[in-house]
């Protein structure tokens, strides 16, 4: 079930990536973000998302492995930020 952080993340993802016609409730917590045919996000989109998340939550995602794990889904991103960020 979505909590305040996952809702905030979904809103951020939609705004950052200009996902037209997508509402926060359309994104499932465990749905893959990168490589999903529904969103069609590529590596530049992922990079853009990483930059926005770093700025918004004051974290540094330092490697592609870390980013792949963190951006696997909204749920994994929320878990990552809870562990890493003081701004959650």
């Amino acid at each position: 079930m979505s909590d305040a952080l996952t809702l905030r993340l979904k809103t951020l993802i939609i705004a950052t990536l200009k996902l037209e016609g997508v509402r926060p409730e359309d994104i499932l917590d465990d749905e893959p973000l990168i490589g999903s045919p529904r969103f069609g996000l590529d590596s530049i989109d992922a990079l853009e998302l990483v930059l926005v998340i770093e700025k918004e939550f004051g974290v540094k995602i330092g490697s592609s492995e870390e980013s792949r794990k963190a951006l696997a889904s909204v749920s994994t991103l929320a878990t990552y930020l809870r562990a890493q960020s003081t701004r959650v």
Partner: protein
């Protein structure tokens, strides 16, 4: 743990680069040149795939089927540049003469301490431009594919050590993070923007009579990291000199929305490609992509 994937190789024998360097140093020009021409015929005979791509590309430029001699000229232009590149890697001086159009803005950017994104193409002497920026005090990270037998890259890297670094695109999983790290560290990047294989973003642009897909990633990076973009194309001038054509500088405008910036970026890149097409039509043999020409864009993208 799996073994790392073997590096790709340039076409031709593994001893080809070494032999070219040896012959260029030892043999007089009157002997080396005709033998290089003859060797190009041998290369033409043993590289059917590259020959077919050359023929197809030249047919597009000429508007008629290309003759065998024209395909040979294409191959020879590349062999000639390779020798030039190996000479440069071996320490031979190379002078860059900037064409006047856009030169002032380009010089101002290069001589500033502002990190920038330098784009170019596999055309003429453009491959050397990243290294030669060091003459103007720039440290540049050159993005390229690592191949197992690229002696020219190895030699140029050694000659310009301290002024250039390499970021290899062979591992796309790490490429974007390496790019991010380099840009955030204030590095300037040099990347070629004609081959689609490692590009995250491609868009259609008018080139050689059709809407063709070209990598557009450089502009997305510019917008994400607020970096200027400038393109340079080099052709051989007299002697050991390169004539360099620079584009206007594209600078993301923070007052504009992303979509508006991308619109300006597309216009900028189309102007760059128009300039490239002019040079391609002046000397078609300098297009050093022995690969399928950039494909026509699907109707949905036009």
């Amino acid at each position: 743990m799996s073994a790392p994937a073997p590096l790709p190789h340039n076409p031709g024998p593994s001893w080809g680069f070494g032999f070219l360097r040896w012959a260029d140093r030892r043999w007089p020009r009157w002997l080396f040149r005709p033998l290089l021409m003859a060797g190009t015929w041998v290369g033409l005979a043993f590289m059917p795939v590259q020959r077919a791509h050359s023929r197809a590309y030249l047919a597009v430029v000429f508007g008629r089927p290309a003759r065998v001699l024209e395909v040979w000229r294409h191959f020879f232009a590349f062999a000639d540049f390779l020798v030039f590149s190996l000479q440069a890697g071996g320490g031979a001086p190379v002078r860059c003469a900037l064409e006047p159009e856009n030169a002032a803005a380009f010089e101002a950017l290069v001589r500033s301490d502002r990190p920038a994104l330098f784009g170019t193409f596999h055309f003429g002497g453009s491959d050397l431009l990243g290294y030669l920026l060091s003459d103007r005090g720039r440290h540049v990270t050159i993005i390229r594919q690592q191949v197992g037998n690229s002696d020219d890259t190895r030699l140029l890297g050694r000659r310009f050590a301290g002024h250039v670094s390499f970021l290899w695109v062979n591992d796309p999983a790490h490429l974007l993070y390496d790019l991010k790290t380099a840009i955030e560290a204030g590095e300037s990047l040099a990347l070629k923007c004609d081959r689609l294989e490692f590009s995250a973003k491609a868009e259609p642009f008018q080139f050689l009579g059709a809407e063709r897909l070209f990598p557009f990633t450089i502009y997305h990076l510019a917008l994400l990291f607020d970096r200027p973009v400038v393109f340079c194309i080099a052709v051989r001038g007299a002697g050991p000199a390169l004539r360099v054509y620079s584009s206007p500088v594209f600078q993301p405008d923070p007052a504009l929305e992303r979509a508006a910036n991308l619109h300006v970026a597309r216009r900028h890149f189309q102007a760059v490609l128009n300039q490239l097409e002019t040079l391609v039509r002046q000397d078609p043999y300098l297009w050093f992509n022995f690969l399928p020409l950039n494909p026509a864009a699907p109707a949905a993208l036009r």
